[in-house]
């Protein structure tokens, strides 16, 4: 689908013009994003650069300005201009299709024509606005100054005022009126539905007055002056021709009207029969039908449109008609409607052609019925200005849209018709301004105010609750530390099978066994891990084990040195590479450490360790589960040396599966795990006073946290069940 940059209508792929408004589509047209200014392909719905919606909000691009000024629906209708001016002046003047104000674009074929005439800077053949043209024809014999003549008229050889008398065109208008009445007869106005009247199907008798097409044809035949021939088919194509006129032979009429300079007789026509009065000259009394109502606003916006010439007509007119003259794609039903064939029976034409003839009912014709397919296309009623919407648009109460009304429209401005297609088009057209308005309001706001989080006021009576919780927890921790033994049973150390397994591994080491200890934690958890590590090291040293100390973190060797291991053990230092370093260590111990913590060269032969298989036990003290996982995955899967871990309590649930799967031979978790290890190694040894106080504080602290959680939940549910929101 190709979305029209002007009205947002979805058109079929490959469409050259919008079937709704006639806007030129496709090709190399660009759509400029209204928000960031980036140029996007015309097919884009959203901006490539900023994501803004383009289809409804798109602004005309550069190439779009070269579109032909002809657009709108292919209805044989009057233009969107002033009705009085149209009636006064456009009978013999080709009516300029309603183009946007200030629009000076010309079709490509006109540009080429202008170029062929030698001046590419001025529009050639572009008919001026009807009223302008009428004003430029002050009267017979008046000498229009050269500079006041539009260049395009000068180049076309348009004779001075008086040479082309307005009355010259009146006979042609009469001819057209007669022809159109013959073939384009129409039902009386009262028999037509309102909306069909708004479509601008000209009532009988007004075809000659209102339709600019015959005048355009006449003008096409008359205006070309000496030495400059404006292709007649171009005017034929530009003007909103009705079927009768399209079928009418154009060349004979062109031959009948000679250039003004060569036909002085035309200039001698009575001044009273000006083109503006030419159609009324059909006579007021001969009007068979009352004046049609003005076009509906939605149709006036569409404006007139050119009809495509058939291939046969194009062939007849020769190869000079450029493709740019081709009108926009017009639905077949509209072409049919434009021709009047769908509405007006042919036999009605002669009946209505002559004033005073009986109405269709009088001649036995049935009232024309609106086909169902046409009924579903009936547009909805546009809401009047000031008319309130059926429902109040909601106001956003929070978020960046706070205070914006109508961000999500409940009801579009146009009450959609019965058909979903019409409803969708109406909704798209009305959502667009809503979006634009919303975006404008949001962008107008200051960023700080829009992103500032809303502060929820805390009731005064609840402001002290956090402090109460802090004080309760602090008291629960401090009391056992200041006065140990106050908590009955608080120093009971929970047993842990994993700690017992760890102790078993240590106790089963042979004298002089080599044990590799890796300090894989940082100082932030040293308070938790230092004590259990120290306990294990003490037991290992008591067993006479040879300790090899290393670390996979840069801060680990410092922690080991603080325990005095730099003097009592071989402190290998930092092993870089984390997981890769461990994989290398498991593959080959040789070369993994070039210098120890003190900078001395590591003598592997003196150590008696060529690989990790020569080590009796590997212990990792880790504060992250990754470190344990690296040891298990990279080392444990390659060597048969048992691995034990001393970990922070925070990661114990993540590490314990490795112990359950026997990938870890033992596991000590935090302070409590250290105490359990201590109890497993020396069941009968009394706890130190400091350890006893710490375990009491830990127990009482846990109890305080549980109490706080229970109280908090009770308060929450009590408030919710009995206190309401207050």
């Amino acid at each position: 689908m190709i979305y029209c940059p002007n009205c947002g209508t979805a058109n079929r792929d490959g469409s050259s013009f919008c079937n709704q408004c006639g806007q030129r589509l496709g090709g190399g047209s660009k759509a400029t994003c209204p928000f960031c200014g980036a140029e996007n392909p015309i097919e884009n719905i959203f901006c490539d650069a900023c994501g803004a919606k383009l289809a409804p909000l798109v602004t005309p691009g550069v190439e779009e300005k070269e579109k032909p000024s002809l657009k709108g629906l292919s209805l044989p209708t009057k233009p969107a201009g002033d009705e009085e001016e149209v009636r006064d002046s456009e009978a013999a003047v080709p009516q300029e299709p309603s183009a946007p104000e200030g629009e000076e674009e010309i079709p490509d074929w006109l540009a080429r024509l202008r170029a062929s005439l030698g001046d590419s800077s001025e529009p050639v053949g572009e008919p001026p606005e009807t009223e302008e043209f009428a004003a430029e024809v002050p009267g017979e014999g008046a000498e229009l100054p050269e500079e006041e003549l539009p260049d395009w008229l000068q180049e076309l050889g348009v004779p001075p005022v008086g040479e082309v008398g307005e009355e010259q065109l009146a006979p042609a208008a009469e001819e057209f009126a007669a022809e159109s009445l013959d073939e384009g007869a129409e039902l009386p106005e009262e028999e037509l539905p309102d909306w069909l009247q708004e479509l601008g199907v000209p009532p009988v008798g007004e075809a000659g007055e209102e339709q600019p097409a015959p005048a355009a044809e006449e003008f096409a035949a008359e205006v070309p002056g000496e030495g400059a021939e404006l292709p007649q088919e171009e005017f034929l194509a530009e003007a909103p021709l009705g079927e009768p006129l399209a079928e009418a032979p154009a060349e004979p009429e062109a031959e009948e009207v000679a250039p003004p300079a060569a036909t002085p007789a035309l200039a001698e026509q009575p001044e009273a029969e000006t083109p503006a009065e030419g159609i009324p000259a059909l006579s007021e009394g001969e009007r068979p039908a009352p004046e049609a109502e003005p076009l509906a606003a939605w149709l006036q916006e569409e404006g007139p449109v050119i009809l495509e010439l058939s291939e046969e007509e194009m062939a007849e007119e020769g190869e000079g008609a450029p493709p740019a003259v081709m009108g926009p794609e017009v639905p077949a039903w509209l072409e049919t409607l434009a021709s009047g064939a769908a509405v007006l029976p042919e036999e009605l034409g002669p009946v209505l052609a002559t004033p005073g003839k009986p109405t269709p009912e009088e001649v036995g014709l049935e009232r024309a019925a609106i086909p169902s397919w046409l009924e579903v296309l009936r547009p909805g009623r546009k809401r009047e200005e000031g008319e309130e919407a059926p429902a109040e648009e909601p106001v956003e109460t929070e978020g960046v849209l706070e205070g914006v009304r109508g961000a999500l429209r409940l009801v579009p401005d146009i009450d959609p018709g019965p058909d979903q297609f019409v409803r969708a088009v109406s909704a798209a057209a009305t959502v667009t301004p809503a979006h634009a308005e919303t975006l404008t309001q949001v962008l107008a706001r200051s960023t700080a105010s829009s992103v500032r989080p809303r502060t929820v006021p805390v009731p005064r009576r609840e402001r002290g609750l956090p402090w109460l919780a802090f004080l309760l927890l602090l008291a629960a921790v401090l009391i056992p530390l200041l006065a140990p033994g106050l908590v009955p049973g608080g120093a009971t150390v929970p047993s842990a099978l994993s700690a017992k397994a760890f102790a078993t591994q240590v106790q089963n080491l042979p004298p002089g066994a080599k044990v590799l200890i890796s300090f894989d934690y940082d100082p932030s958890v040293s308070t938790e891990l230092d004590w259990p590590v120290r306990e294990v090291v003490k037991d290992l040293q008591a067993k006479g084990a040879t300790l090899l100390v290393m670390s996979t973190t840069p801060t680990g060797p410092g922690l080991a040195a603080r325990m005095g291991l730099a003097d009592t053990a071989t402190l290998l230092g930092y092993l870089p590479g984390q997981e890769m370093g461990l994989q290398r260590l498991a593959t080959s111990f040789s070369g993994a450490f070039l210098a120890d913590y003190k900078g001395a060269r590591v003598d592997e032969a003196a150590l008696g360790v060529q690989s990790l298989e020569d080590v009796a036990l590997i212990i990792t003290a880790a504060s992250s589960q990754d470190a344990v996982r690296w040891w298990v995955e990279q080392v444990g899967s390659r060597v048969n040396t048992p691995i034990c871990a001393i970990v922070s309590g925070a990661i114990e649930p993540s590490v314990r599966p490795y112990y359950s799967s026997r990938q870890l031979a033992g596991l000590v978790s935090g302070w409590v795990g250290g105490l359990a290890y201590r109890q497993a190694v020396s069941p009968d040894a009394p706890l130190e006073a400091q350890s006893k106080a710490a375990i009491e504080a830990q127990s009482l602290g846990h109890l305080a946290i549980v109490v706080l959680i229970v109280l908090g939940n009770l308060a929450y549910w009590g408030k919710r069940l009995f206190g309401g929101r207050s």
Partner: protein, 221 residues
Amino acid sequence: MSDVSNLIGIWVSALLTVMVLSYLLGDNPLYRLAEHLFVGTAVGYAVLVAYYSLLRPRLILPLLQAPLENWTLVVPLLLALLLLARLNHSWRGAGMAPLAFLLGVGVALALGGALFGSLLPQVEGTMLSVNPADGGWGVAVGNLVLVIGTVSALAYFYFTGQGDTGWGRLRAGFLKAWRGLGKWFIMVTFGAIFASTVMARLSLLIGRLQFLITEIPKTLR
């Protein structure tokens, strides 16, 4: 001298401990100062350790003492220098090569290790006997809960299985029940992780308070 340095160390650490605990009053300059000191000291220490443990013995000294024998060390040196190019916005692209090398090797290593070090052993670890004759009723029930929890937790992350046919609906209902059960096991696991974290942090608090209570009075004697 060592007593003096030890004394200063104890007081500085006590002061920093109090500064960090001042966060209970809200974010304040004292807490920020302690935080920045901690981070800065840790980074400075790590840089020195990396230099003396890695760069100096493994790169600089070999290149200076025997450059022809160790010319291959130029390759990691260039890669390391290219990593520094990421600091400059216009040269950021040059730093992609060593980064890609590191990521590629790391991912390959992790993949192999995860397969043979975690996945297969963990799957094997869930193949447990639920026969009470093997280890008693307690062990059997424990193993059964472990197997059910593992399978249901895995089913929670199985997002397909919808179907319109009779078999499809049956399969979807079966998976839905397993997913519901797995959700509860996952919630219990998260609760255990939270409790362990609280316990670990409480241990840290106790350790610092114990330090303040026991070490500071020692320095005043």
